[in-house]
């Protein structure tokens, strides 16, 4: 903010900075503080109508709006990719209503809003990862009553959650659940990590960044402060495992990232590529080469030109 940029209507201009009014942001910040003070606890908040439908990230958008400032650098990903429709429009939304710089670079961003992934690149202190959460209650599928699930959280009665894992093993011979895999936070609160793949669950443990979770329709905010213990549930004889792939990323050759399967034609050809588009791009820029490097999918600009 240079002095030259100061306009006479500065106060009004910032009254509705970042879309939400000041009182709403204050209320959300209070809920965030409460959530950070009790890691894994679902703090209720007065979720507002947002200019997108429920299910499109209203919880995440409200969290971002409450914490963002003009000096922040904002990144938004959907399923790991920066260039998907939802990510692009939410990023544009904040570029417009909050006047912030945006980026696709994970390391450069101060606030990263995400749906369904945690970036591959480890997060650092000072960064905030904002999750969009459809269903904050991990027990909801097994216990429909909110009064009962609240009591179960209050009294730490989490045996029921194991019923879902038990069902998984008896049906598939292993814990086949892959997304939204339940975790224990600081051995106290059972928490749904939102529908991230369980591949990302270990990244939450002892993370340096602040992890904030917002569920707009369900009106709940919860959080994992930096350096918090996060343990994925499992059985003694069926320990927690993450997904593995037989192939590497077709474009960048990464062996250790979360891969998406892309069907190329109806003749059975397919490729596996990093779901984290920035991570993959960065690796290719560093000279890593996968078996299908140079494929048109690796070069979206050329594809646009068709």
């Amino acid at each position: 903010m240079s002095a030259a940029a100061t306009r006479p209507n500065e106060a009004e201009r910032y009254y509705n900075y970042a879309y939400l009014d000041e009182q709403t942001k204050r209320m959300i910040r209070r809920a965030i503080l409460k959530a950070l003070a009790i890691p894994g606890y679902q703090a209720p908040f007065g979720s507002r109508e947002m200019p997108v439908p429920y299910g499109w990230g209203t919880g995440g958008i409200q969290l971002t709006a409450a914490i963002i400032g003009p000096d922040d650098v904002y990144k938004c990903i959907d399923q790991g990719a920066d260039d998907t429709t939802n990510a692009v429009s939410i990023r544009k939304f904040f570029a417009r209503v909050a006047d912030v710089a945006t980026t696709e670079d994970t390391a450069e961003a101060t606030i990263i809003q995400t749906r369904h992934r945690i970036p591959e690149q480890p997060l650092k202190a000072g960064q905030v990862l904002v999750f969009q959460v459809p269903q904050p209650e991990p027990l909801r599928g097994l216990e429909a009553r909110e009064t009962e699930t609240r009591a179960m959280h209050a009294y730490e009665e989490y045996g029921l959650q194991y019923v879902s894992l038990y069902e998984n093993i008896s049906a598939f011979g292993r814990i086949a659940a892959t997304a939204g895999y339940p975790v224990m936070v600081e051995e106290r609160y059972l928490m749904s990590p939102s529908p991230i793949p369980k591949f990302d669950n270990p990244k939450m443990d002892d993370n340096e960044a602040i992890l904030l979770f917002g569920a707009g329709r369900e009106k709940r905010i919860y959080a994992i402060p930096p350096h918090t213990r996060v343990r994925s549930l499992d059985f003694e004889d069926y320990p927690f495992e993450v997904q593995t792939w037989e192939e590497n990323c077709a474009l960048c050759g990464a062996e250790d990232s979360y891969l998406d399967e892309v069907v190329l034609d109806d003749a059975g050809n397919r490729m596996f590529v990093c779901s984290d588009s920035h991570h993959c791009g960065q690796r290719r820029a560093e000279g890593h080469v996968g078996p299908m490097a140079g494929h048109q999918l690796a070069n979206p600009v050329a594809e646009d030109g068709q």
Partner: protein
Amino acid sequence: MSAVERLASEPLLRVADLSRWYGSIVGCRDVSFEMHPGEVLGIVGESGSGKTTLLKCLSGHLEPTSGKVEFDTRRHGMSDIYGLSEPDRRRMQREDWGFVHQNPRDGLRMRVSGGANVAEPLMNLGRRHYGEMRSATIAWLERVELDTSRIDDKPRNFSGGMQQRIQVARNLIHGPKLVFMDEPTGGLDVSVQARLLDLMRELVRDLGLAVIIVTHDMAVARLMADRLLVMRRGEVVETGLTDQVLDDPQHAYTQLLVSSVLQI
């Protein structure tokens, strides 16, 4: 356990002057009794006589207006169940009690398999070894005479009688001290009812369980219960050994109740 030993032992449940009012309407009034380990107590009476209210009060689901329910808990010894903190009471209910509902849909999770329903109490008690829980479940399905190959079927795919057997297994697997049963054979046809009753009687005797069974069916009471409480308009009008009450009813209402049983 013989009747003499039973009386010599410390009571398992002690109910004193228990009353429950719904506003000005009486649910049950001035109920007092003691129960010993291994005893099966039947509560009989017509609809609206306060049987279910009494059962809810005894099982910790409905706080009585006045009076006391004391139970010999594993963790806290003999204690007033409504004097325990809520988490302690819930844990005691999980660990020491079972509750067989009349409608299996109330007592089972319909969205998870029969096997998981039976294993759930073990998980609630903190067991985290799948293989052990699985074999315990199979053993219990055998014990309630269910086809173990159907362990992973959903409850809705079982018949009413089989659902009730799953419910029985689910409520016994964790080794409770006391099991509440609310019309466990209601809604089943007579042959299924007879087989289920036979099974439950065998299990109760084998395990030396204490059971409180609420029923309006005199035949069920005769088969299952050692002792009966006869209720009418919220009050216990007669109590005694089952055979004594049914063969030689003293109170006019009990006489009416016994004589109303249909004969074939």
